[in-house]
């Protein structure tokens, strides 16, 4: 057979994406596949006599190269590993103290509403209170639904490496990192496997040296755990649509750094901070203390933040330099950096969980709890529930049909805390679409009433303002035009110039923690892209980009991989992409009647972060 002919292999189960959900799935499944005497508990249909043939294809170049700094209650993980000793997992620690902080704006450049400004004044007037320190007000009481007590701080990269090593050593499932999946194989209404991406192609995807068409992996069950921006999940969404009333409309991009603290700073491992209020009221932040004087620090920039020059990187730097945190972080050293998209619709973004031949787990299946800010615990649980269901069905020699999966997996999920808590959280953040204060009140109401009371917001997709609207009264239109023109000529994003114009101070680069975004790619993310793959960010109608005034994709791009072209368009540089996927949901152009189809297609691609500490 020629290499250039598309080949195909048959497995029993194929998984897409190795995150916590698939980790939970494979961990649970692997324990039920082999008997103590080494014979198969469940026999493979594709290789009779052998145990079930299970493989997981992961886009990133190694296990744990994704991003998420987490503080989790870890209920599901503890169920899977009752004897869990977190000391075995690098950077993991038991949570020892929790703080929720309202950060005041010591610079005065953020865009605060009159209500917030008034709140700030009151807080400053009461600064002799013990809860006020270094321009931050510590909430004296943390609502139970936000508490993570009894849980753990993890580097998700290290957690996944630990899980992956454990899985591989069982020999019951194989994991293939560096192998992006281009999409599902759909025949009629059945999913029959997945197709891998083509290799040996140029950036447009045309066959080049060493061309090998993406192989078809056919399997009785396709487990889709490829996260909120994964191509398999999103193509299933396009094909099957969403259940009535559900949609993916709310997003956030999370950016974080893993930092070595300077020698004289001591933070007890397991100390966690959550913040709101600064650098902009819409931006939430966190800092988690790991072992060995290492912290994870990051922010979330949500889709309801109106500024079209939304840059997670620059805002993260200002957040780190807030006096409350800078006393810890100053003199620190960047170890790792990364960014990812978060599906913030939660339960309301739930797609069809199952169909003939497939099941959805994890964040892409709407499991994230947007009220408690918890996703890993839920994702692991959905994977575990699916594995238990698969074992049941396989032992009963039943097919992985929609009906059978509904009666097992979906039923388990619906009766579990994932669903119960997801329902409470469902409308808890609606108020944010109108204002931050309303959003915060809405969250508290939903949290305390079990979701019975919520505050409404606008329905539909979050939209950023135009630059002119957002900076009205702050930057004159002529000045805005000049900045836009100059940045376009130089191929730069606008956010640095705009932020400086409205009073944000220049970042004093120190070469070790405060570094340029380009340096963060290399020093922190170690971002790389192998040759022989097509560009995975595609601008469908370039003329739309040329006429786009704000080009939010350039501003939000976590790796500065999307640049302005002097002629007015944009271009993509794969070698800088961290695969956060923020570009496609930030694109303000809708090109199809279908929900969420913007002018940017975010496909499966290779490369990205090469750090396992995030």
């Amino acid at each position: 057979m020629l290499d250039s002919e598309r080949q195909s292999i048959d497995l029993d189960i194929v998984c897409v994406g190795l995150g916590p959900a698939t980790g939970g799935f494979l961990t649970t499944l692997s324990r039920g596949l082999i008997r103590a005497d080494g014979t198969p508990e469940i026999e493979s249909k594709v290789m009779p006599g052998m145990p079930l043939q299970v493989a997981c294809y992961e886009r990133a170049d190694d296990i744990g190269f994704g991003v998420s700094g987490i503080a989790t209650r870890a209920r599901s993980l503890k169920e899977s590993f009752p004897e869990l000793n977190v000391a075995e997992i690098s950077l993991a620690a038991e949570i020892t103290s929790e703080k929720v902080l309202y950060l005041l704006d010591p610079i005065g450049a953020g865009r605060r509403s009159p209500t917030l400004r008034m709140a700030d004044r009151i807080i400053r007037a009461l600064k002799w209170l013990p809860f006020f320190e270094k321009d931050a007000f510590e909430l004296p009481y943390i609502p139970p639904f936000l508490r993570k007590e009894g849980g753990f701080v993890f580097s998700i990269g290290q957690l996944m490496q630990w899980v992956g090593a454990d899985l591989m050593s069982t020999g019951t499932a194989v994991i293939w990192p560096g192998t992006p999946v281009s999409g599902p194989l759909i025949e009629g209404e059945n999913v029959v496997g997945v197709r891998l991406v083509d290799q040996g192609v140029d950036k447009e995807g045309r066959p080049a040296g060493g061309y090998m068409p993406g192989m078809d992996i056919r399997a009785a069950l396709t487990v889709v755990g490829d996260g909120p921006v994964g191509p398999v999940g999103r193509q299933l969404d396009e094909h099957f649509g969403f259940p009535e009333g559900n949609q993916h409309t709310e997003w956030a991009v999370g950016a974080k750094m893993v930092i070595d603290l300077r020698d004289d700073v001591r933070l007890e491992p397991g100390t966690i901070f959550h913040t709101f209020g600064f650098p902009e009221p819409e931006i939430f932040g966190f800092m988690y203390a790991h072992t060995e004087c290492i912290v994870s620090a990051g922010i979330f920039v949500p889709s309801w933040f109106k500024n079209p020059a939304r840059t997670s990187y620059r805002y993260l730097q200002h957040w780190m330099m807030h006096p409350y945190f800078w006393r810890y972080l100053e003199g620190g050293r960047l170890r790792s950096w990364g960014a990812k998209s978060l599906q913030e619709s939660g339960r309301r973004g739930e797609p069809f969980l199952v169909g003939n031949g497939y099941a959805r787990i994890g964040e892409g299946s709407g499991s994230t709890n947007v009220l408690t800010g918890s996703g890993v615990d839920e994702a692991w649980m959905t994977g575990k529930q699916l594995a238990e269901s698969v074992l049941e069905l396989a032992k009963a020699e039943k097919q992985y049909t929609k009906e059978n999966l509904e009666q097992t997996y979906v039923k388990k999920r619906r009766s579990s805390w994932v669903e119960k808590e997801g329902r409470i959280a469902e409308k808890s953040r609606d108020g944010f679409q109108r204002s931050v204060v309303r959003g915060m009140i809405g969250m508290v109401l939903a949290g305390f009433t079990g979701g019975k009371l919520t505050l409404s917001g606008k329905s539909g997709k979050d939209e950023a303002s135009t630059l002119e609207d957002y900076y009205r009264g702050k930057i004159p239109p002529a000045e805005l035009d000049r900045i836009r023109r100059e940045c376009t000529e130089q191929g730069l994003p606008l956010h640095d110039a705009l932020m400086q114009k409205v009073g944000w101070p220049e970042i004093p680069f120190d070469g070790q923690l405060l570094v340029s975004q380009q340096d963060a790619l290399l020093m922190g993310g170690k971002v790389q892209a192998p040759a022989g793959y097509a560009d995975h960010v595609v601008f469908l109608y370039p003329e739309l980009c040329e006429n786009c005034g704000d080009k939010i994709c350039v501003e939000i791009c976590s790796g500065q991989a999307i640049e302005r072209e002097p002629e007015g368009g944009v271009r993509f540089d794969r070698e800088k992409c961290v695969h956060c996927g923020a570009c496609f949901w930030n694109c303000s152009h809708s090109v199809a009647a279908g929900e969420g189809k913007s002018n940017i297609e975010f496909r499966a691609g290779a490369g990205g972060l090469h750090s396992a500490e995030n």
Partner: protein
């Protein structure tokens, strides 16, 4: 007292290369610090001329394996010669230059004698009556000072790390050492050398200046077009007038093996850095290259470093270059070429 020998091979013309002369400096100093003598062992088609210089350096005895079989660098014949020489010298400390010829064969010989070997040695001192060797680990990313109790200890000096011995030629007797060469001859025959075509020679180890081209030369320019042709013309013209040696970053040389549009004359041999070469030149000029740590590792032995990059915050700005010029390399190198052409 430690017995010391320096192992040297002659060049095809019978002379000693600069790395060999550096090894002479090292062995003289080591012997002096240890209060010992040192012997010399020579291999080559003809060793007479070299032996005179080695004697001038103070070798107490000179052993030699000579003849046409030893004209070329070849593991089998070199191993036969070194085996015989090392048996005769029975040394505890063996000093040698890190040439490609010796790097190929010395580790095997060290192994044959139950000895240990350290290469990339850049300094040797005597502390407490014993040698302490400084050598590189992790490809020039860190240096260690080590000592060993095992003997023989083969110490292979990194070329360029020491001054070359200069001295009078002396007349001394050479002790020829017989070698039991296989009657059937050698299974391997050196049939020649491949050199880049005339004008295509871009690696010049003796050049004053290293010119490094990064992948930025092949990237899309602000006008939306890649200007690989312009880049080639500018760089070749620059190399021609400065006689600089050409280096490339990893991403640059990788482009060539991936069949992407790149500089026609850039190959993996040009690669500087963690997975490439670490050449020694008095000056280095980096262009269109970010200056990240793994690449800069290859600049360890470049004394004066300057860089041209569009990004004022690139790696070179972080204490890695002496001067960073923020500007467009196309424009700047074009002007440089004009000025150089004017003389």
């Amino acid at each position: 007292m430690e017995k010391i020998v320096v192992l040297l091979h002659t060049e095809p013309d019978g002379t000693l290369s600069r790395p060999a002369l550096e090894a002479l400096t090292v062995v003289r100093s080591l012997a002096a610090d240890l209060g010992s003598e040192f012997a010399a062992a020579l291999v080559g088609e003809s060793v007479q001329e070299a032996a005179g210089l080695v004697a001038g350096a103070g070798a107490s005895s000179i052993y030699a394996v000579e003849g046409s079989d030893f004209h070329h660098a070849r593991y089998t014949s070199d191993a036969v010669a070194l085996d015989a020489l090392c048996r005769r010298a029975a040394a505890d400390l063996v000093v040698a230059p890190g040439t490609s010829r010796w790097n190929r064969v010395l580790p095997g010989i060290a192994c044959r004698f139950g000895g240990r070997i350290d290469t990339h040695v850049c300094d040797i001192n005597v502390e407490g009556g014993a040698p302490v060797v400084t050598r590189w680990y992790y490809r020039q990313r860190m240096k260690a000072r080590i000592g060993r109790t095992q003997r023989p200890w083969f110490i292979v000096c990194d070329p360029g790390s020491f001054s070359a011995f200069e001295g009078e030629v002396k007349e001394v007797p050479i002790e020829p050492i017989a070698t039991p060469l296989a009657e059937t001859g050698f299974k391997t025959e050196v049939v020649g050398f491949q050199k880049p075509a005339e004008g295509g020679q871009t690696i010049r180890p003796d050049a004053e200046l290293l010119f490094v081209a990064g992948a930025g030369w092949t990237k899309m320019q602000p006008d939306g077009n890649a200007r690989v042709g312009d880049a080639e013309r500018l760089i070749l013209s620059f190399l021609k007038s400065t006689r600089a040696s050409l280096g490339g970053s990893k991403s640059m040389v990788d482009l060539s093996s991936e069949g992407q549009e790149t500089l026609a004359f850039m190959t993996h041999l040009n690669q500087i850095g963690q997975t490439g070469a670490t050449p020694r030149h008095p000056k280095g000029l980096s262009t269109c290259c970010h200056g990240e740590e793994p690449h800069v590792v290859g600049w360890r032995f470049i004394t004066e470093r300057r860089a041209v990059n569009l990004d004022p915050n690139c790696g070179w700005a972080q204490g890695k270059a002496d001067v960073l010029y923020v500007g467009d390399a196309f424009e700047i190198i074009s002007k440089v070429n004009e000025l150089l052409a004017e003389g």
